[in-house]
Symmetry: C2
Subunit: 474 residues, 2 copies
Amino acid sequence: MSRTVLTPRAEDFPRWYQDLITKAELADNGPVRGTMVIRPWGYGIWERMQAGMDSRIKAAGAANAYFPLFIPQSYLQREAEHVEGFSPELAVVTHAGGKDLEEPIVVRPTSETMVGEYLSKWINSHRDLPLLLNQWANVVRWELRPRLFLRTSEFLWQEGHTAHADEQDAAAYARRILHEVYADFMRTELAIPVVPGRKTRHERFAGAVNTMTLEAMMGDGKALQMGTSHEFGQNFARAFDITYTDAEQHSRLAWTTSWGSSTRMLGGLIMAHGDDAGLRLPPSLAPIQVVVSVVRDDDEGRPVSVARGLVEELITGGIRAELDDRVDIPFGRRAVDHELKGIPVRLEIGPRDLAEDRVTLVRRISSGKQPHPIDGVLPAITTALAEDQHLLYSEAETRREERTADVTGLDEAREAARTGWARIPWRSVGDRGEAELGESGITVRCLVLPDGAVPDTDDPAVEPDLIAVVGRSY
Amino acid sequence: MSRTVLTPRAEDFPRWYQDLITKAELADNGPVRGTMVIRPWGYGIWERMQAGMDSRIKAAGAANAYFPLFIPQSYLQREAEHVEGFSPELAVVTHAGGKDLEEPIVVRPTSETMVGEYLSKWINSHRDLPLLLNQWANVVRWELRPRLFLRTSEFLWQEGHTAHADEQDAAAYARRILHEVYADFMRTELAIPVVPGRKTRHERFAGAVNTMTLEAMMGDGKALQMGTSHEFGQNFARAFDITYTDAEQHSRLAWTTSWGSSTRMLGGLIMAHGDDAGLRLPPSLAPIQVVVSVVRDDDEGRPVSVARGLVEELITGGIRAELDDRVDIPFGRRAVDHELKGIPVRLEIGPRDLAEDRVTLVRRISSGKQPHPIDGVLPAITTALAEDQHLLYSEAETRREERTADVTGLDEAREAARTGWARIPWRSVGDRGEAELGESGITVRCLVLPDGAVPDTDDPAVEPDLIAVVGRSY
């Protein structure tokens, strides 16, 4: 199989990434700077991501809703840090319906302010809390250095917004989303061994009192932030007057959270699992798990008809299978395309295979290629898919472990960040060390406790034990 | 049960509609004129609509993709009729990332132009055709007289876009979507007896050579356009240079279609099925099909525990059931709320019911209320849901038939349109009659053949047989 379709990763990782997205037909650049067209193969993966996340979000008790794209500019201004953080990235509508608008309208960069306005309307009594909402939507943040999936001027995401009666309940829910929704989905389905942790004060979301994150190591050792969960304390409740009457009839300010994950996860998937032959999709997210590919047909059309029967058998067995009977296209070219697209298993059938009642089973992830009797191919594939889902995870985990160094000083951290991450005591970094590392393009990805747990916000008791995970990032 | 929560339909239908949306917590007005917040109950219905439509769209061979929200203004101008049709409704971004833009950006009102640009890039050979795409997205059309769900400045929809090698294939596909996707979904799941037909030249989509529609009669006798399917001939192919090489290596222009359905269907659902007590949801789309409602608990908590067991039994039986054990809220108030929200079946359980090992089964659609032994409640409910799905459809169909008059002249048509629709030979109307009716606020909803079939575009052979369905509309 040709391995030269893509720029090799070792030669130029960013170029490999761009090549892969184009050749696997995942996405295209849009005509307006920084925007993106998600093509059917990319969107099919995103649909499976949405399904996996959505069922977990609902299991965590949140209901989907939809808030408007257009936010009055004045809303943004009600929370000082929030407007400061987002102002440089806003797209503004000044003209609509043939007229200039009296108040400019902002295209939502995120919806805390819009949702805040409605939480205030909908929440009256403590019985209305917690109020747990989520929306699937597009958002716009003007990007100066756009990159497909990773940083686009428009992207698709889910954003959860919740209001709670007290600080503990809000904190517990923000963590529940981090672990039960995000970490679980990313580990189980994306097959990415994410590291959950707390962001430093410097890296917090605009307006948050605590931002928690999930960090993943990409194939080049850099970090990618895969999702975040924020506590806002009472900042937005104060700005939007989100109050409730408690059981004793006192009026109280609510506590809010928000949490988001986006099409950026597609970039993470590509960079965590892709190899020089293309994408490698975790079987649980692959729109097509098995392609049954006819090498060439014979005069009786037997290979095509056997292949079609196999596809039906696999689909009945609960596997997402598809037939490739385009025998007028050279077989090698089709195989390269299936590899580029990352389809986990390929079953090849030609007249020679049929003469021996077998197929050739090619595994994209474990790279195995072996003949298999036609009978009993379903259980073999079911096993292969499950094994390869785990294999992807453990490969990514091994890389992360091998490329993470425990260090004690900033120089060692800089050295480690050339190829991966460093774990360094936070007390050896601090605000000052964070700024120094920043000069070398290195950021504190997150703070964790020695046992891997996510530390509470600004808890002085754990402060001396905090470990900073640092590295370069996307 | 109180029937006075809503303004009665007979008194003021538009006010009833608005009351229902507010009190059933379906949606709220957004802060920017004409925008809308879809609340969880409304969005839950929309999610089921999406699922029902999406599976049919996929079964028709189209794949989902995603195109950018922002369209360069110049794209719109490439198809003359298209830009003329949409210009008055556009929202324009003139400022982004802290700077004034060189070329203004249009927030998509529909995506023919954007998709056209990419079809042109992606299509090379006849092997690439047909190319069948769909997207779920938000679009913006500035509305002067907005009304929740029916006409909002931003709405959610699916828009399909396809390219074909010849006119026949394009025409057949546009019809396949009309019948197999739209009509089937609307009849089977929305329980609305839609009338498929062809729009007059005057009512065509901007840039189309043929627009087909599905028209539904609402509770007040007015019509609502529930979805449309368009043939563009080669208009967009010419404007965006969508060409392919045929089997003989000649370059040919493709033929394109588009088709859309939106959150407007929610408005149709409300106005087709709602009554003076609130919404009536078709069981197949109800987010909650059965609410098990505890009238009051006893000291041992038996009613709540039996109710919880029943909910589990129903869920295991494949029914979307939920428990209402909020016994601190007056039972009557909760019942009114369940009726407002249109939950198809309510099971009431109190200590008195339990003493007799029974529950009270209340059906929202057929308005029945009767005791039922706790054993065997699952099959009773399954039957009730299926019956009531059909009942909703036949009620709507009966209304449509009763309120549709076969007439021969324009005066009679005007008279019929006071309470419903008229069917009138198209040769008695024509362009001139269409304009005359328009002066009375009456439009030609669609043209059909005597047997109900959808006539081909501008086919002179069938012209004398065409029947115009006319009425007032939303």
